[in-house]
Amino acid sequence: FENKVPEKQKLFQEDNGMPVHLKGGTSDALLYRATMLLTVGGTAYAIYMLAMAAFPKKQN
């Protein structure tokens, strides 16, 4: 293992207005979008499932 802390400090202290959760680059953006998509999409699906469960179809 080599000490990469100084270069990371340079990267994350750069004055470019990027918030810390995106400051690391492309992989940060991909991970952030995936997380947002899964949580928001999942929440819509959860509400749909709960609504379906709340109004069960009558069984004939």
């Binding site: 400090q9 999942g42 499932m49």
Partner: protein, 260 residues
């Protein structure tokens, strides 16, 4: 923009939002699992929860180690936060001990008026549980060795001692898991099994969380994140590990030893 104070002004973060939504997915996922035997929402909840935890704590490392926001006054806040968290954990376990002593000190006549209840064969406290006690006590020593090595700038000793602590934690988990296969009682066949598995099971979960915390510390140590004067992440992990150790001592004395 020039900051003239030592406080940490955080960036707006998406993680509280994704964390809250993932908590909704976890709870509604459990409902869908219990009710319809469908595990899609629950898996989604677990996945997004892990993603949120990873990125949130990754950002805290960036803020502390790479951006220098963890000034002495900010570290003081982190210390209070960790202390309050551990106090809340103490009360969490106090509830299980309360249930255990409530049930065992004055056993009802349904149990045969005795503890352990009639028909229960408890584990022998002088076998694996005693070994587990010495494993955790030894890990308490090795983590102190790691801390002192870190403060003295002895990198090799710090790495070794921290690795030993983690291995002892994993050994404890393996022993506990094998011990669970040996029990003649289960969580669902009476108050003895219920109190036993509730308390020791949540303790085991905390050992796994503590081991994960220590593994993260070892990875950060290998990547040169800690200095001899600035390493609160490690100290918090050590506090947590000692807490888990102390809970085990109470479990051992109360449930394994006195309770058998």
């Amino acid at each position: 923009t020039h900051q003239t104070h030592a406080y940490h002004m955080v960036n707006p973060s998406p993680w509280p939002l994704t964390g809250a939504l993932s908590a909704l997915l976890l709870t509604s996922g459990l409902v869908m699992w219990f009710h319809y035997n469908s595990t899609i929402l629950l898996s989604l909840g677990l996945l997004t929860n892990i993603l949120t935890m990873y990125q949130w704590w990754r950002d805290i490392i960036r803020e502390g180690t790479y951006q220098g926001h963890h000034t002495p006054i900010v570290q003081k806040g982190l210390r209070y936060g960790m202390i309050l968290f551990i106090v809340s954990e103490v009360f969490f376990f106090a509830g299980f001990f309360w249930a255990f002593y409530h049930s065992s000190l004055v056993p009802t006549h349904d149990l045969g008026g005795c503890w352990p209840p009639t028909g229960i064969t408890p584990l022998n406290p002088l076998e694996v549980p005693l070994l587990n006690t010495s494993v955790l006590l030894a890990s308490g020593v090795s983590i102190t060795w790691a801390h002192h090595s870190l403060m003295e700038g002895n990198r090799n000793h710090m790495n070794q001692a921290l690795l030993i602590t983690i291995l002892l934690g994993l050994y404890f988990t393996i022993l506990q898991a094998s011990e669970y296969f040996e029990t003649s009682f289960s969580i669902s066949d009476g108050i003895y099994g219920s109190t036993f598995f509730m308390a020791t099971g949540f303790h085991g979960l905390h050992v796994i969380i503590g081991s994960t915390f220590l593994i993260v510390c070892l990875l950060r140590q290998l990547k040169f994140h800690f200095t001899s004067k600035h390493h609160f992440g490690f100290e918090a992990a050590a506090w947590y590990w000692h807490f888990v150790d102390v809970v085990w001592l109470f479990l051992y004395v109360s449930i394994y030893w006195w309770g058998s």
